[in-house]
Symmetry: C2
Subunit: 310 residues, 2 copies
DNA sequence: ATCGATCATGCACCTACTGTGCACGGTTCT
DNA sequence: AGAACCGTGCACAGTAGGTGCATGATCGAT
């Protein structure tokens, strides 16, 4: 209901270049340029100035973008309330989430919605958390499932988003079948202090999660190998190259001769998974229903004993 | 910046029929019908139901319209603030007002704006107060000058509008040149109690103003003739048919052998003239400047002595 | 009961907005 | 200097959204 050109401007305010805005919104760069030009004409304001080989927001432009946060939130709130008041449904629904969430949480959610609401067009996009926020602003998706990171620039109080905690996903340890601990059910991080560890490259979200888990118990792990994908890491462990941490949500196929153990003791590392939506839209019946379904899925997975993955 | 279809829905909520909405917005009835249908499709809500030979808002529709008041106001506020922050001007500006205001206040305002802001497209529409409010909602005009009536359904606290008092326009008495009081400068209503009066038909806004003036001083005037236009009333008085009340803003040509006297004594009847705009937009520099110009015009007219009209 | 008036809507048609693809000029980094 | 990148103008195309007329439905008046 808000003019799509204003939405485009907001996306531009986040990524700073016309090209990136085009990529995020799905338009061509020419279209973004034309939209921004038209927006300035309609409003009678100069919103952009040339800056080097790019363009930059003017003070007026920044002011407008900042103020539009409450406008967007107001509209989302109104639409959600009207939806609830009229017990009606929207026609399309976009979901976004990072890999694990997309596979374990969003896929069943989309399937459930597809059966309970046959005429709702559901679209799922896999994207990392930062891009999920971009996609929310661009209105490409309506709900995102992400890992809450302390390093995130989006706080709880960002006027553009509203977040609710979905679940705390515990990290398990995976070790090779041949490992002396393979028959145990639980283990502490201290017991594994001298093991060769497998994790992601420094700088990734998983790596910071990894180090945080060990600093919490005062252990310095020896990092032997690096793997980006869970599948790769599991394969490394299965090959006896070392041990690793695996979120409980990440599935483990039985063929992979790897054992998953729960962590006990002082340090019980978890990653917090939250759902994010545009501020104001959280009350929408569709989003509320989605959150409930997500909770059910998450609890069902978490209740499963770690040995089930063997 | 708000979707024009939502604006159309708001206009429909006020006048109740597709045809009237088309007339107010400037669209054709087919276009209004298509817009409302499209709006329901996009939002996934049923906003209208057939009702006899017309259509009626559903509960959801009424809810949406009511809630959109704050949304519109929020946008107007944001735009006005951005305008002020950036010291920029809009490209078009619509003015509305009733007959006297249009001639005496809006015409000079439009002329001034045309000279101070050459590239601003100014449009003036003459319309009675009720229609002015409709035109404000329809975004055909941005500022309206109207007579405040106690019978108006639009209170000071209407979430859609914002009003500021422009001036209190005193009512003068007009009498024939041959009248014994013609050489005086002031008169009281009591002195004219037995005169034959000329006013508008019962039910008009002027008529209620007329009776209110006399009930304030406890006099019951004898209504001899009825006239709708000021010009007609003045002609009646000039022909010696009676006396009448004339707002000071209404001009008096010297050729009309009629004398204008100020009213003194307990009852000093006035009509309150206010400016109205969409809520939130009152801070816009263009509207602020317009209000100042209107004040200047009004004061200049009011300072003129009543004899000047002879 | 019938006829006319009124109201919303569907349809055919057309205009004009808006997006795409490509080429170009300007700017920065190496 | 040359290459890479960024934004923008232009020709073209598709489609959203406008008008005008005809139609069906409903209400009021004769």
């Amino acid at each position: 209901m808000i003019d799509p050109r204003l939405v485009t401007l907001r996306v531009f305010a986040r990524c700073g270049t016309v090209g990136a805005t085009a990529e995020l919104t799905g338009y061509s760069p020419s279209a973004v340029s034309a939209q921004l030009r038209e927006l300035q004409r309609v409003l009678g304001m100069q919103l952009l100035v040339k800056d080097g080989r790019g363009v930059r927001l003017t003070a007026t432009g920044r002011f407008l973008v900042a103020g539009s946060d409450t406008l967007i939130a107001e509209w989302e709130r109104l639409r959600a309330a009207a939806m609830e008041a009229g017990d009606q449904v929207q026609s399309s629904f976009g979901l976004g989430g990072f890999s694990t969430a997309a596979a374990q949480l969003l896929a069943p959610l989309a399937a459930t919605l597809r059966s309970t609401r046959p005429l709702l067009k559901v679209q799922v996009l896999e994207a990392d958390p930062a891009r999920c926020f971009d996609l929310l602003v661009a209105e490409r998706i309506d709900l995102a499932v992400i890992v809450a990171m302390q390093s995130d620039t989006f706080g709880e109080d960002d006027p553009r988003f509203e977040q609710t905690v979905l679940l705390d996903d515990p990290l398990d340890v995976i070790i090779p079948c041949e490992h002396p601990f393979a028959s145990r059910e639980t283990v502490t991080l201290e017991e594994l202090a001298s093991e060769p560890w497998i994790t992601d490259a420094a700088g990734s979200t998983y790596h910071s999660l990894f180090t945080a888990a060990f600093t919490a118990v005062g252990v310095t792990p020896r990092i032997a190998h690096e793997a980006v994908e869970w599948e790769t890491q599991i394969a490394f462990v299965g090959a006896g190259l070392g041990v690793g941490l695996l979120p409980r949500l990440a599935p483990l196929r039985s063929a992979e001769n790897v054992v998953r153990l729960r962590i006990t003791g002082r340090g019980k590392p978890t990653r917090r998974i939250v759902a994010a939506a545009r501020r104001g839209s959280i009350g929408s019946p569709l989003i509320q229903e989605s959150l409930e379904i997500l909770q059910v899925s998450a609890n069902r997975i978490l209740r499963a004993r770690p040995e089930d993955g063997l």
